[in-house]
Symmetry: C2
Subunit: 335 residues, 2 copies
Amino acid sequence: MKVTIKDVAREANVATSTVSRVLSNSHKISDKTKERVNEAIKKLNYTPNIIARGLANSKTRILAVILPKEAEDIFSNPFFVQAMKGISIYAQKENYYIMYAFKQEEKDDKEWFNKFIDSNLVDGICLLNSKENDDTIKYLNDIEFPFVVIGRPDEINNVLWVDNDNVKAMYDLVQTLIDYGHQNIAFIGAKSNLNVSKDRLRGYKQALLGNGIEVKGDLVYEAEEFTQSNGSFAADRILSQNKPTAIVATDDLLAFGVQEVLNKLEIKDISVVGFNNIPMSEYQNPSLSSVDINSEKLGFYASKLIIDKLEEKGNSQNSYIIETKLIERDSIKKV
Amino acid sequence: MKVTIKDVAREANVATSTVSRVLSNSHKISDKTKERVNEAIKKLNYTPNIIARGLANSKTRILAVILPKEAEDIFSNPFFVQAMKGISIYAQKENYYIMYAFKQEEKDDKEWFNKFIDSNLVDGICLLNSKENDDTIKYLNDIEFPFVVIGRPDEINNVLWVDNDNVKAMYDLVQTLIDYGHQNIAFIGAKSNLNVSKDRLRGYKQALLGNGIEVKGDLVYEAEEFTQSNGSFAADRILSQNKPTAIVATDDLLAFGVQEVLNKLEIKDISVVGFNNIPMSEYQNPSLSSVDINSEKLGFYASKLIIDKLEEKGNSQNSYIIETKLIERDSIKKV
DNA sequence: TTGTATGCGTTATCAA
DNA sequence: TTGATAACGCATACAA
């Protein structure tokens, strides 16, 4: 039989409420009873029943991580697992539990969310959506359910979010390339409707303009999907019209495609840089330089934001900008 | 305010117990009250409180998925996310919830597990360990807590598990290569102490012997880790001693390393096949053939095993063998 | 500082 | 077939 607070109370010769107080470290309790109770707890190997506790104070300390139903890259992009890792690190530190679920079809979206929400199972939600400007953000906002988003949403008011500064990340990258002597730099992106895409393109343009370099249309290509084949296609396209000395891609998979083309054409003097720094990048030929977006930290601070809010820790911000880091490898050549 | 069973009872003019019965579809309840209650439920938009329900019948319908603390490949190997997806599909179908957690340090392992178990939060555990013969398997078995393992454990008695038939998977692969005319086939593995490694090596040997082909020591190399660089090292080693027409690797990352060496040496007539069919394989040059282990299905049936056990659905088996499938791509050449 | 009693939202037992 | 009520394990308002 499970040992309950009653057993501990009996063992320590106190009331259950006293045990409860010791558990929550109430300050108005004498040291000696505190000690006695703690002894009993240890002796009986007592662990509080989370469910009962949850019922009593209508808080479960459970978070739900919502994964995209079928992001094309959820299996190839380590972002998701890394973010989940980061989330769990802070959560565990704060004694929170984490559930996960893959998002459902659009139509029964609300109904499905309510299963989590109305059932009182989770205290907060962490959205790992790839799609931005999601209906669910609006919905959760409307019903005032606590949630946090990884990726800056369009409507910022009242929503917790954490993201990289994608303008700056790309700006810094391009600036570095310019510092290395590159003047003719191409840009390959995908999903141009995403904020992250827009921001990275903006950073690219700003860096060029900031250095008095013209932004040329034939050096910019935005593909449909973040895939290797789209990257190859884009590279072919750009190379047929211009001869850049460097190509930046907003995703490593795109960059892989670029490298594939360059290798096939035996072009060795074009630098390539990707984004996300997925594990495979290191093993490309040449090893691919990439901007690491710090996925684990994104998750960590998302977790922190939502938990701090739930715990009503006062002075908490409502967003974090996570720094990125250019990992320089062989694919960057100085001119 | 949340709407509870009481509100429904009042609305429908019945007792709470009646509502509860309707909820659980009790057969001894008149159709007309059933209808009346259901109307009230719909009208008030009532959703049962999972926590209260959990307390009342000491079952939460929550499963916990335990991920390895830091498997070297947890971020690069899509297995984990795919398995989690599979787990969630069956779980959702059966109205189960899923939590996840990364395994902790060895030392406070038990203590950490007890947080899940003694706290009555989860009904069952799903182990996604890479390490086999894990202490936790013994522990969970000892305390008789329901769990399922992906990957056949050493001690099979009473433990639920799901796995591929790794002997057969490799046997079939090698047999296919032999059918294609290959006679000199090399084997590259890693972590030789794992069951999966042993099984795949066994399958390799059986296929060769079954075809009257001698197993040569200089065609077999077992590396430390499942990494690309280890694959390269192994390929170098083997090529320095022998000249196989095909190389099978027990992991795609190893195979990537093999391909890297072959490309560098401009060898085009050696077939290469990997295992796990990670997304990148398709984009290798040449595209890498690989044995797909059906991760999602592994997860699905793991979920099914543990849930069926919890639901005490009688005639359930205690293990499933999930079929594998050779995905043939350009890296396989007929001799 | 500690104990008593009540409630959290369900399910289950016992009566009716 | 339905209703009243006692659990489930814990937290807390109120008393002492």
